[in-house]
Subunit: 193 residues, 2 copies
């Protein structure tokens, strides 16, 4: 997946123009209705350039997920201090991502696409495995580290579903600290227990 290394201040690079168009399309339309041709048209570039930078539609979708999650910035402050307190740090960062509308809305769009379309689910699975669960698992000293990271991920994903999508009370209204106090210990036990 192409990253934004070529970006210069004050200009919009072609990959960024494609990203911008793609994010709007994935947010507003059904996944099946989004096409590389349509993204290229909105970005004002030739479809061949979209393929050049991102490969397939699934590649554009995976890049859009990474562009929201920014795992390279998100994970080091959580993982580098070590296992002590990692459950609380991971839970808090995850809730903050979802509590902010600029990241919540595209993540809801990603979830909607993944739930309804196997291709989108495959793209999300690949990104989650490589860029989120992989690094988290690497910080776990137990041999079942991959399963432990997946279990932690399942608790956080279910929390997002209930709080932001089903809006189930009292979970939907609980403040960040109370939520971290409840869920953080579960994540800590999965990763380090």
């Amino acid at each position: 997946v192409s990253r934004r290394s070529g970006r210069r201040r004050g200009t919009t690079t072609t990959p960024d123009a494609i990203r911008y168009a793609a994010r709007a399309q994935f947010a507003q339309r059904d996944y099946r209705a989004v096409t590389v041709r349509g993204i290229a048209r909105d970005a004002g570039v030739d479809a061949a350039l979209v393929h050049h930078f991102f490969g397939t539609k699934e590649g554009v979708f995976a890049d859009a997920i990474l562009d929201v999650l920014r795992p390279d910035a998100l994970l080091p402050p959580i993982l580098e201090p070590g296992l002590d307190g990692v459950g609380e740090r991971l839970t808090r960062a995850f809730i903050q991502l979802w509590d902010r509308p600029p990241t919540r809305d595209p993540m809801l769009a990603v979830l909607r696409s993944a739930v309804s379309h196997p291709d989108a689910a495959a793209a999300l699975r690949a990104v989650v495995n490589q860029h989120l669960l992989g690094p988290v698992a690497s910080s776990v000293p137990h041999p079942d580290r991959t399963l432990r990271a997946a279990l932690a991920g399942s608790q956080l994903l279910g929390l997002a579903m209930e709080r932001y999508l089903l809006r189930l009370e009292p979970l939907a209204s609980l403040d960040e600290d109370a939520l971290v106090a409840r869920v953080g210990p579960t994540i800590q036990r999965y990763l380090a227990g």
Copy 2:
């Protein structure tokens, strides 16, 4: 929500014919594309009868969820023995529901609808609150029982998302006993800890 109390062996009641048609429609089409009129047509009845038995489209949807979950049969063997071991029993029953295609497939259809359509999410939320989390919370002796039940629900929902929808390994292939051994203690702590 109407229940199947009037059912007689060997005959198909009008509510059952409507249920059958509704389940097929919700499984095969986008939630928005399902109409009371279309369900009535497939069931061979007048749309007024659908409204009579189930109210709105959301009412038909809620009934379809209950028809899959059967909480009246599901929950007593889990809750009546008391808090001891409730986490393991609840986790096992939930996994068995999702591991069997006849219940998994309609539940995936319900999740897809709820993720994409706020009306469907509201119907699912009402059913989950009244028929699943409500009874589970009633069995919890702590004053924060509603939050505890919601947290347990979030872990189970996230597990279903990762295992059956994203098919994330090694969670997707883990056998029932291993999964119960990992997740059961989390549910137990949320409810009774």
